[in-house]
Symmetry: C2
Subunit: 316 residues, 2 copies
């Protein structure tokens, strides 16, 4: 794409997302290294030829020296501890994250005085596997990568993050943290909750029900195969937005139950659900053009475009 | 497998399941022909080289002459009309069906005095497509095919149905109609209901939410892409069993909502759901042996085996 040298990337956490990012960034020509808390994970990554250390302070000092883009790639409960050390050892590095929720990370970043160099990120990619063994560089290919455009975002770190996402093969959706969290409650966290409930209902039917289960049950419960701690770390920090959509969904399901009981009819639910799935299948991404980072109101313009289904396919 | 000539099969309805069965039976060496209500569907099937007529009476007379196994392959709401004509024109043919619910079909069969030659069937296979264009002979390969063992089932038609299912590449789960319906409420009809509700919730998030949607939403809403009439024809005839499991699921989801609100915790749901998915992934089919059709209590013995996860992989 470009012949500019790629600026360094320092990934904190080499689980499925962080490890895959280390691989993808390296493959795209970025000098990249990582920290991982467990020696087992670090050793596995080193065995595959990557520079991964369990020395967090040393890793951050190296990032500070190199002006690396630091990527926080740990579950939400572990974010605060990392920010504390980043504030101590690499406070001037551009900073992003790949955590599943954006509001709580932004709040934590502000508490630690790191907001000026921070841009939230969330690649919408994953599998039900976890850990270094599950990582692969193509995880982000053709995925959507949410990138923050909250007030106070600076152009330089923003462009660094967008460029990295694009170089990993994703398209970028510019989004406000709060709007991101409400959206992912609908399309990522609610799916987890419903998958768990469906798995519970199926297993309660014993070997006969599980033996008769075919595609609809298999697909509907796939993400219930994700490690419970990881599901909780993804969903629980977004409790407020998830509660809102879960309440709505309980209302919808209760109405369907009542209609089924009274009239043996699921008409309303099924029509609405089919329409919703059609909306999803026919949704068209369009390329955002004409907004230049740093221009007057650029952040609001990007947020508005992302809200309407626009994506960035190249660095503006 | 066997060098015996295959006995003829007459399929009533050439939608996804019936049409695929016409293809599969033909490929397995069965003389097979079909009826389809719409001339468009019949013409499409004929264009592919199959004998498909819109003349129901003529089709049934031919079945009666040839002692063909008649397979009812229409949605539940259309079953009664077919049974009426079968009772008139082919009352002595062995009779089965591939309808998604078994109790209501069995009741209707009994009302029409056709129970002595009837054996319920339900191949657990499908896609979100429908109609002749979606049919393919391998639809049943490695699928599970539920075959009825209700009191009063006779050996001859039962063996005809089991043999056909096996020859189409499926394994057979022997099951009572009522137990089948309670099981599929859990693993087929509830997945439809939850998929519709998830699609509604996602679409309510507009282009941003749908644009951020990835694997969990795609898989969780896949079956909401099925034609609404078909979903209703599958789920609504099983209203009683579906109501029971939907009530249970509302209880589970409400408890999760309350726990999320009170403690920001999804621990109980997520642990239980993960266990349920593990049960599904690790469920082992085992081959039923030592039961001979026609022996004392053979139907009860098969029902007990199916209840415990047993399958037939060859004709006993």
């Amino acid at each position: 794409m470009t012949r500019d040298p790629k600026p360094p990337v320092c990934v904190l956490g080499t689980g499925l997302i962080g490890g895959s990012l280390l691989r993808a960034a390296t493959a795209a020509g970025y000098p990249a290294w990582a920290y991982n808390r467990s020696e087992d994970g670090a050793r596995a990554a080193r065995a595959d030829g990557f520079e991964v250390s369990t020395d967090l302070v040393g890793t951050l000092r190296r990032a500070a020296d190199a002006d690396a883009l630091i990527v926080i790639a740990v579950p939400m409960p572990a974010v605060d501890h990392l920010l504390e050390l980043i504030a101590d050892y690499a406070p001037n590095c551009p900073l992003t994250d790949v955590v599943s929720v954006k509001g709580p990370v932004l709040d934590a970043v502000r508490r630690h005085g790191l907001a000026a160099r921070y841009v939230g990120g969330h690649p919408m990619a994953g599998t039900s596997e976890s850990g270094w063994a599950a990582t692969f560089p193509e995880l982000f290919r053709d995925a959507v990568w949410a990138v923050g455009v909250d007030e106070g975002t600076h152009v330089d770190p923003w462009s660094r993050v967008v460029r990295l996402a694009l170089d990993c093969g994703s398209v970028v959706v510019p989004v406000l943290a709060a709007e991101h969290d409400r959206a992912v409650a609908r399309i990522s966290h609610l799916p987890h909750v419903l998958a768990e409930a469906l798995a519970v209902a199926g297993a309660a039917g014993g070997p006969l029900a599980l033996g008769l289960a075919a595609g609809s049950f298999r697909d509907g419960t796939r993400v219930a195969g994700t490690a419970p701690d990881l599901v909780r770390a993804i969903c629980e920090p977004n409790a407020a937005a998830l509660l809102e959509v879960l309440d709505d969904t309980l209302t919808v399901l209760t109405a369907a139950r009542d209609s089924l009981r009274a009239d043996a009819s699921l008409a309303e639910l099924v029509e609405a659900g089919h329409d919703g799935r059609q909306d999803y299948e026919t949704a068209k991404r369009w390329s955002i053009t004409g907004v230049t980072p740093g221009d007057h109101d650029w952040l609001a313009a990007f947020a508005e475009a992302g809200r309407g289904g626009g994506v960035l396919t190249e660095l503006p």
